[in-house]
Amino acid sequence: MANKQAVLGSGARFTGKISNAKSIEINGYVEADLTTEKVTIGSTGKFIGAVDSDLVVIAGEYEGKMQAESVWLTETSRISGEVHYKSLQMDRGAALNCRVVHNWNETNSQKVDENDQNDDEVLEEQTNEK
């Protein structure tokens, strides 16, 4: 029983707090804030609230602010609110009515700027090597 996945059935409605979740599947209606490793919102599911997760798969409805490493929005998904992601897959038919933000590390964005400036130096180094 230890590793059985948490499921909210399609007829169920939950409002409140969910904590300590590892992996959860939502086929019903949920109004909550959720921090987890993996969350699946099934085609009959509706989730309202903030989500912070490594992996998010949505086939149903989502409303809120989502922060995720990896997001998969299937063809039946309907999203409103805000999606912050590192990697995003969207199937044809997915309905998004939201802000989509790709967040990379600030250190990475600074590196990009530095690279622009350092181009000349790199060239110099290369010519020196020759």
């Binding site: 909210l8 059935g9 007829g11 939950f14 707090k17 969910i18 300590n20 979740a21």
Partner: protein, 104 residues
């Protein structure tokens, strides 16, 4: 698609769960209002609040009020509170303290 709601061992839920037409199995923790058709509270689960269902099996730690047409208290259960039921069975070893009344 599964109709059943399963609250896994590590999960902690607090609030209002209404699953009138289907079953709920609790292995983790739940605090608040729970309404369902069938409810199974597994051994080591923790429930605190108000439970209303047609058929209930209590196996874990229960505090609060339980109202069920058919109620079974398993031997692993520790119950502190009020039980309302029309058909009751309590297994040998179950710890029950509180009141037991009929619904109707």
């Amino acid at each position: 698609m599964s109709e059943i709601t399963y609250i896994s061992e590590e999960l902690v839920m607090e609030g209002n769960l209404d699953s009138a037409g289907s079953s709920v199995v609790l292995a983790g923790r739940f605090k608040g209002e729970l309404r369902a058709k069938d409810v199974l509270l597994e051994a080591n689960s923790i429930f605190d609040g108000n439970l209303v269902a047609d058929k209930v099996t209590l196996g874990g730690f229960v505090k609060g009020e339980v109202s069920a047409n058919t109620l079974n208290v398993a031997s692993s259960a520790k119950v502190e509170g009020n039980l309302k039921t029309n058909a009751l069975s309590i297994d040998l070893g179950a710890e029950v303290s509180g009141s037991i009344t009929r619904i109707s």
